[in-house]
Structures are given as structure tokens and as C-alpha cells.
Symmetry: D3
Subunit: 239 residues, 6 copies
């Protein structure tokens, strides 16, 4: 089984880092193709960044789909382009925010999200509600760390993330933590030791969910919402 892992931003350092996580949890027989969206913004830190990442991201989905990928992971916590990617791919497509929240809901009653910038919290709350975890999400905090600083996180940044996670556990009743950025993937174990609760990395969760779906033979429904997009006469190319 081949799972494509697309990093929607243009940081190859981040792609390399999340590929390590993905391969560590991929079981036997699961191959990870890690791809960087070179056409995308350097980081996705606003609705505008998300919008500008989409054309390149969707092209990567189409390319991998044509190349035989069995499933796709969109490795940015805003889950940009998830709906469109599902229209385009034959196999399942999983976003890492979605995956992290699903996994957290399976191992605890209430989780908290610790993410990068406060300006993305509104979008995080939107995703939480859309995926059905509005009540399961006890809190969402932002550590005020730019995404690219996580390529090589400073001790101060790690401490800030840990302190917010602790607050979520001790004050908000969170029983697990979802890491709110693909770039936090390597902080998982250290945080788990510090906090004593499960710390979920969306990249690992998405690889797990995608391979489970492939093994079950379940792919995205082609009915209504995610049917292949209509092709209109005179439009040469979809993506």
C-alpha cells in the first residue's frame, strides 16, 4: 500500500521531518511518498496562505492519484483543500487535524488542541465543530510560534507548548492533547512524558486512519458531495 503525504507548504525541511514520523508508524507493507508543495507559500498561517496553497496541493493529489497512490494525507493542521482533494482522488484523503481529533476522541473523553498562532484558533474551532468534536474539545490554545520556527523548535517554544498543554489538562479537564501543527510532530514523546496523558500527532494518526481505510476497502463516497467535479466544455484542464 502506498500513502502519499503532501506537505501543503513549501518547506522541505518540514516535509522531511514529518516523513520520519509517518514512516515510524506505518505498519509493514505501507510505503510513504512524502511530497512538498513547492508552489505553495513558505508556511500556512492565514486564510490567504491556505487559499494560495490550494492549486499546487490539488495538483499533487491528482498526480499521486494518477501515479497509483492508495490514499493521501494532507499534512497541515488547517486541513486545507480536504473537500476538493476528496473529489479528485480515488482513494481516501485524510487531514491531520481531522485525524488527530478522531484519534484523541478514541482514547479520551475530552482533548485540547495546542497550535501555533492565535489567528488560526477560529479556524481550528470551525474544524472541531465540523468534524463533530465541539463538545469533546475542552480547549484550544495558541503558543504564538510561527510555523517555520518549528522546523527546529527552540527550548523556549517547546516550553511554551508544554505549559499550555499542562494548563489544558489541569484547568480545562483535557484528558489528551492534539498537536496543532505538522511541525510539532517530533515533540510528541517528550510532551507525553511531561504530561502523563496521550499526546496525539495528527501525522501519525492520519497515516494510521488512511491505512485502516485502505485495508477495509473503504474509499471516499462518489455520491453527491464528493463526486468527481463536473468538466465543462472548453475547459482544458481541471487542476
Amino acid at each position: 500500500m502506498r500513502i502519499q503525504l503532501v506537505n501543503p507548504n513549501a518547506s522541505r525541511a518540514m516535509t522531511a521531518k514529518i516523513a520520519v514520523t509517518a514512516r515510524a508508524v506505518a505498519g509493514p507493507g505501507v510505503e510513504i511518498d512524502a511530497v512538498t508543495n513547492d508552489e505553495g507559500p513558505a508556511a500556512l498561517e492565514s486564510h490567504t496562505d491556505d487559499a494560495l496553497a490550494l492549486p499546487g496541493l490539488l495538483r499533487a493529489i491528482e498526480r499521486a492519484d494518477a501515479g497509483g497512490a492508495d490514499a493521501h494525507v494532507i499534512a497541515c493542521f488547517g486541513d486545507p483543500g480536504l473537500d476538493a482533494a476528496r473529489e479528485l482522488a480515488r482513494g481516501p484523503v485524510i487531514g491531520i487535524a481531522e485525524a488527530g481529533m478522531h484519534a484523541a476522541a478514541l482514547v479520551s473523553r475530552r482533548f485540547a488542541v495546542v497550535t501555533t498562532l492565535a489567528r488560526t484558533l477560529g479556524h481550528t474551532r470551525d474544524l472541531t465543530r465540523r468534524y463533530g468534536f465541539g463538545e469533546a474539545c475542552a480547549a484550544a490554545y495558541a503558543a504564538d510560534i510561527p510555523v517555520l520556527d518549528l522546523e527546529e523548535a527552540s527550548p523556549a517554544a517547546v516550553e511554551r507548548i508544554g505549559a499550555l498543554a499542562e494548563r489544558a489538562v489541569h484547568e480545562d479537564g483535557a484528558e489528551s492533547i492534539v498537536l496543532g501543527c505538522a511541525g510539532m510532530t517530533d515533540l510528541c514523546t517528550a510532551l507525553e512524558v511531561r504530561l502523563g496523558v496521550p499526546v496525539i500527532d495528527g501525522v501519525a494518526a492520519a497515516v494510521g486512519l488512511a491505512s485502516a481505510l485502505v485495508r477495509m476497502g473503504a474509499s471516499t463516497s462518489r455520491r453527491e458531495e464528493y463526486a468527481p467535479p463536473p468538466r465543462r466544455p472548453g475547459e482544458l484542464l481541471r487542476v
Copy 2:
């Protein structure tokens, strides 16, 4: 006051049609600049279409903002790019789905949406909930009419839209109807006569809301969610 009306798809016929509506309801002193997103898809009928329309749409927002527009209307019922546009513009930005639902909620307890394609109903429901009208929306129906067929709607298409609206009124308890496509803007009066309830066209509603906000001196909050997007070193151009 100058309000920019952006049609996110590339149909100039549709732009012309909605400009007529917009100008008819714009009060004294309100000027409408109607703009077509020539780079966009011919019609927006899928999540993929919405994604591909964004770069051109956001460029139109930036351009008009620099050119002194006081407010912006995004004239496609999926409200594509609304969040990103709010980051980029100084004045208020209103989507026509959003505007249609707000207006309907002010003149009735429950409304129904009649839109084009069934595949967009999921997105319509998402918007309904996001804007807070999950309970106010009694039903959402799709007439299964491709968007571009509305450039010049056939009698059969008009009949189908009317029949669904009637069903919403008589079976679902809708007390008003929201038209679910910018291209339906010219059906408003005839439908109102047929149904005997308010029929809201989002284009008209958006022009009204945008000019009300400008007159109140209210613009998009620059705090958190809609702050101007960060500019990273080495990125030449935002949009």
C-alpha cells in the same frame, strides 16, 4: 460610497446580470463596480472549482481595495474566499449566501434555500451552520440545474425552482426563500408573486448589508482571525 461586486467565476454574462440587481437596490450615493474573475473556472460547481477560483478572486479584492473600494461583495452562493478576503481588505466583505441568510432571518422565523446542484448542498448546510442559521433553515433543496444554465434560465428550470420553493413553504414550514445562486437574481419577483412569501436574493441583500456597515463606520476586525496575513521574508507578493 463604492462597493465592489466580484463574480468569482469567469462568466461575464452573469456579472452583467447581477450588476443590474445590485444597482437597482443600491441607494443614493452607492456606486457598484462589477468585476469578473477572468482567471476563474467558467462556473463554481464543486469544491475544486471553488479552490481554483481563489487566487484570481483574492487578486480582485486586493486590486479594488488598493483602488479605494469601501466594501466588497463576493457574488457566488458558496461564499468562496470570504475569510481570506476579510484578511486582505480594509472595508467589510460580504458573501451572498451569508447576506441572503441574514436577511431571511430578519423577515421570517424559518427560511429555505433553493440552490443549483445537489452536490453543493453539503457546503450550503456547512455555511448555514457556520453563520448560525442551522435552526432557522427549514430545508435546502437543489433544482439540479447547472450554474451556467441560469445565464438565461429556461421556463422548465424556473418551474423546477418554483416547485421546490413551494414544497419548502408548504411541507417544511419555510416562511421565506433564499435563492441559492447569484444567477437566480432575476427570478426573485416572479417567485415572490407565485409563493406569497419573501424571496431573498443574496446579491441584493449583500449590497444592502455592505452599505449599512459602511455607513455605520464598521469594518472587519483586525484582531486575530482577520488580521492582515503575515508577510514572510523572501515572499515577494502576497496574492
Copy 3:
């Protein structure tokens, strides 16, 4: 276009104050008729006050409707009598709590309400949910200021309102503020300067929404909920 602005309480000083705001935002061609409910309580600070204000308030609606008003604004943050007024008037009727929340939802993702007395917070929360803004409302605070003290607000009262609004912005993530009393209408600009986020006055918002609806030709649905009330044989007079 003529919009009637009814102050449901008996304070003519307050009526005069809100008429100033209303006229300042009314565009060209919009005339404001400001009316005091002389039969009402001196201030509306309880459910009982709201109840006792209704007969006089509804008579004012009927009178202005007969006199040709195109729309009506109920200028008390509890939106008393809104449903009944919609049954009685031909043109749209807008409450200022409703209007303030709609406007805030159009310029930010989350707003907070700062109102007068803690005892009215339950009713504010009810309205927030009824209008669909339960999730958009980040917080509701009461400054513990009697309504009539706002006829001429003391510096201490202004400071208390400002401090609560700041708390809403900095601790609760509110991106805009809705003023929770018609009597706060003149604090809007100063608060906006202090807070750096949009501060919405419901009176201004209601005038804007009402005139937008009139220009669109949209009036209250006459079907079911807001149909004219039944007249029973032997009842001489409705209101």
C-alpha cells in the same frame, strides 16, 4: 423612506440621544421618526418591566404603521415585543440586540456583549441563541449600571464598560464588541479607540439593516408565525 425608532421606555432624554445616532448613520433619503413610549416604565430592567412596556410599544407600532412608516426599530436591547410587532406592521421590524449581533457577526468571528445589569444576562443569552449567535458570542458581561444612569454616563461607568470590553477581547477572544443598551449609543467611538476592535451600537446597526431591507423590497413574511393576528368577534380593538 421613513423609519420609526421606538424607545420602549419612558425616558425622553434617552429617545433624544438615540435619535442623534440614528440620524447620523441614516443615509440620504432616510428619515427617522423617534418616538417615546410614554406609557412604559421609566426603564426596562426586568422581565416585568418588559411585559409592562408591551401595550404602549405595540400601540406605537400600529400608529406608525398606519401613518406610513416603512420600517420600525425597537430601541431596547432586550428586543421586547419584536415578534408581536412583526405581526402588526407591514414593513420590517428590527430589534437593536438582533441588529447589533448580526452586524458584529459580519465583521468578526466572535463578539462579546457588554450590557447593564447582571439580571438581564440570562435574557441576553436567550436572544443570542435565538438569533443563531450562540457560538459567535464569546462572552456577555454586565457592568452593573442601571439603565437610566446611561442618560448621562459617569466617567466611572464608562471605565467599567471599557474594562469589561477589554477583558472580553483579551481573555475571551472577542474580536468585536456589541453594546448591550440603547443608552450606550454615544460611547461607541471612544470605546473603539480604546479597544482597537469594532464596537457595534445596535441602534446604528438596526437603522442600517432596516433601510437595507426596505431598499430590497423585503418585508416580514405574512405566512404562519407573523401573519396578522386573528380578530375575534366581540373584541373591539386589537391593541
Copy 4:
């Protein structure tokens, strides 16, 4: 223990009818004082009717409170004036819609409401949500019977009510029925025989809940929402 039962409309025939029900279920030691709001409309069939009933209704509450009533029942399915009455009375105040829904929720997972006029369904849904039974309410139907026709219900009216209740049970999965008008109080037993599920009359339920609260020593909280209303200098009389 003395419980005041106020009929908010002016129909003495209806008061007499509901007094019979109330006395039948009042246990030993519970006395029922049945009172008609002679100043109110002949029937409460619109928001306007509800508004006009309030002054007389609240006076009845104040009078009975001064006269030593231990609790109050507001015997109209719209629960008019409930919040204001709680501010004014020392003992508990129960509305019959509220009581009927509470009782139905204790004997079934989902109930349906069968009420009089379609125009009141929006208000019924509001009450359902406010009391927390939005999910427990499987359906709400209107039999299109004017309230006063229930003083002496015709066989056709009874049949219509029964047919709607059957539909709620067989199509909507309702496991019990709440009668949506005080005037239906005498149909309870016959409907229960026909339907084979509990049929709850709000008058009976309200008497039961009110006497339970009195026996427990529980009265309305005087903190915030339901504190006695402020008395302003110069206002002679509250109600």
C-alpha cells in the same frame, strides 16, 4: 398547600374546565384556586395576544402571592409571562408547556406536541429548545383549531387531534404526546386509549410539579435573573 391556577385568557368556561383537571390530580392537602384573567384577550392565539394578556396575568400573580398562594400555574401552552411571574412571586411558578414537556421527558425518550394553530408552532419550538427538549421533541403539529373551539370540542376536532398524534407516533417515532393547549385537558384519557402511549396534559403536570417543589421547600431562585424587579423612584406601582 394552595396552588393558584391562572388562565391567561378571558374564557371562564375554559377556566372551569381546567380547574376540574387540576383538582382531580391534586393530592390530599392541595387546594386549587382557579382564576380567569378577565382583562386578557378572549384567547391567546398570537404574539400580540400574549403581549396583551401580560398586565392582567401579572396582576393575578401579585394578588395571589399577597393572598398566600404557595405556587402558581400559568395555564396557557405558550407559557406567557413565566419569567416575569417568577420575579414577582415568592413560591414556584410553572407553565403548562414547560410542565408537559418535563413530564413527557420523564416517561419516554421522545415526545410530540399537538397544538392548535400553525402560527404558534414557531413559539412552541422556541419553548422546546429553551426548556432543553429540542432533541427530545420528535415533532410538533398543529390541528388548525381555534383555541375557543376547544371549550366544547367537536368530534371532528377531536379526530384531527387524534390523527396528528397517531402520525407523530407512527411516522416520527414519538413515544408520548404532549397536548398543546389548556383547552385539550379533557381529551387526555380518550387519546391515551386510542394511541396506546402516554398523553400528557400540561395542566395536570404543572399541578404535580408545583406541589412537588413546594413539598421539597424549593422556590424560585432570587439571584440575578429572577430577583424581584428594581423599583424606581417615582414609579408608584409595579404591576
Copy 5:
């Protein structure tokens, strides 16, 4: 009328204590049969405890039902076995969490729950939502007191419960308090004096609701959800 009060845990001291409360509020003609589930765990402090209490608890319901009990109260705040008991009994069955919340919602707009152990708060929140009081519940706190310590509560325990209730009233806007354990039944009056708001004991509330339902002639619906459980060939005994 005979109401069975089952204590699902094996503590006879606790049964004796709650029987005193139950008898104090039972009106004339209401007899209380207090029963201990000797087969159950010593206390119910986890989902596992709840599960292990069920067989004995359900046998007690069946036995009392056969013996002519008119209604049943399950006297543990987790309301264990409530759905199953409703399948088995002819008369109404009331849980004390359910009853406490219903009563609190009738005398205040928002209540708080103060319970024993933090580990049960998730279950309390579940019940709150299931019964429809998700919005009415302003807060739920745990005093970190093992259930059996409440057989004879220490002054420190009482102080901790009182302090949390005060916090709920002053910080969270709770207007009444629901005691979250049958073992707190004797703290009700002292807390009410301290807090100045209604303090609801679920045992008293459940006795009140159960006798009200019996007097109204309302019993659990036998349709669908609570129909008697199917008996399969070869299964000798249900419970």
C-alpha cells in the same frame, strides 16, 4: 401510593440516610420502601462500579414491581440502569440526577452540579446533555470526596462542597445548586442558608416527581425504547 427507593450501592448507612429525606418530603398517602442493593459494590465511583451494580439493581426493580410498587427511584447520581429499569417496571422510574436537574431547571435559569469525584464529571456532563440541560448547567465541580466519606461527612468535606458551590454561584452565574450524590442529602438546608440560592437534593426531587407522575396516571411509555425486553426461547429468567 408506594414508591420504592433503591440505593444501588451496598451501604445500608446511606440507604437509611436517604430514606429519612425521602420520607420528609413524601406527601400524605405516599409510602417509601427503601432498599439496599446488597449485591452491589460498596460505592459507585467508576463506570466499572456502575456496571457491576446493575444486575442486583435490576432485580430489586423487578421484585418491587412484582410486589406492587407504584414508582421507583434510583438513588445514585449516575442514574445507573435507568433505561433498563424503565423496560422492566410498570410504574415510572426516576433517577436522582435527572430529578435534581429537572427541579433546578424549574426554579432557576442556570444551575451548577457539585459532585464527589472528578472522574465522574464526564458522566455528569453526559447526563446533563442527555436530559437536555446542557445549556442550563453553568458548571460541574467535584469536591474530591469518596462517596462513602459522605455517610458521615467531615466538616472539611462540607466546607469543600460549600466553597465549590459558592464559586459556581459567584463566578459561573449559577442560580441554584444540584447536589451530585445521594450521600449529600443531609447537607441541603445548611448549604441553602450559606449560599442564599435553592440547593436541590435529587432524592427529594425524585420522590416529588415520581409521586406527581403517579397522581397524573402517567407511566413509562411501552412503545419502542422502553417496551418490555424480548424474551428469547431457552432463556429461563430475565434478570
Copy 6:
């Protein structure tokens, strides 16, 4: 990796059938231990059945946990004992209703559940809401087939299930189907062919989710809700 699959009812034929499904989707290196709860009822078709299955079910969890199982699947669509099992096991525990709904939400916007008996629909709706899929669930239907008839489903039963699933797809807008009973596990492929949308079997989904969690190193949080249950002096044995 070893995953224990517990069938909470006593039907060994059903255990055998679901073991086949589980093994078919378990990837390389995943071993399935299929266990029957011999002490449980013949089938779980009521709340009472669920309650009586718990002691044996929890013993099976404890036994397998002690024997080194890495994860557990509770193979009955009501997810009985899920919370208690999470307190007792070191590895993750997944219910098949939970798993089926999670998987369906990952491959479609809206799913429907087709289950056995109408009397269990209330419980299904409860689970749907608890897991966060209240809005994603378009419909829940019961085919009125006793659980044990599914050991060897008749053509008529298969047809009834298929017809309900078709109705959900064509009338309710479901884009995928969740099978509402472990005993339907072998109908999955045929239904998928008939319907043209994904048909999710909870058993397969649960095995996939459980192995994904094990590979990620994620287990149930031990904080609060799912901490090991307290052991009280004098209680010999937990389960």
C-alpha cells in the same frame, strides 16, 4: 500485535462470523483473538440485555488484558461497557458503533445507520450524539430483524436491509451506510454493489482503528474519566 475481539452475547456462531471479517482486514502482524461472552444473554436487544452482558464482558476484558492483548474490540453495535472497559484495559478499547461512525465520517459527509430493532434506535441516536456525529448522521433505520436471525440472514432480511439503505441514500442524502449490528458483517460487499456508496462494517473499522492506535503508541488516557477504578478495602475482586 494482538487484538481481542469480544462478542458481548453468547452466540458462538456470531463470534465465528465476525472473526472472519476481522481477520480479513487485519494487516500483516495483527492477530485476532475472538472471544464469546458465554455468561451473556443470547442476544443484546434491550437495555436490560446490555446491562446483563456487562459482568461477563468486563471479565473478558480483564482476562485478555492480563494475557497481553494490545487492544480490544467490543463487537456489539450498542457499544456496551465501553467506558468501563477503558478503565480496566491498558490498551485501547474500541466499540463497533463508534468505529463504524468514525470511518463513515472519514469517507463521506453524511451517513445513515441501518440496524436491527426499532427499540434500539433511541440508543443509536444517543451514541451518534455522544461520538459527535449528530449532524453527520442523516438517518437511522431499523429493519425489524431479531439479532439472532442474522446468524444466517434470510434473503427477505437482506432485502429489507438493502431497501432501507437505499431509502437513506435516495431520500435522506446519506452518502455512506453504517451497518448497525455485528451480525451484518457479511452483507457489506453485496450491499456496496447494490448501493454504489461505501458500506461500513463496524467490526472491520474497529480492527483498523485499534491497530492504528497501537501502532501510534496511543492508549486510553489514565487521567480522570478512564483512570483505573478505585479499589475499596474489603472488596476482594473488581470484576
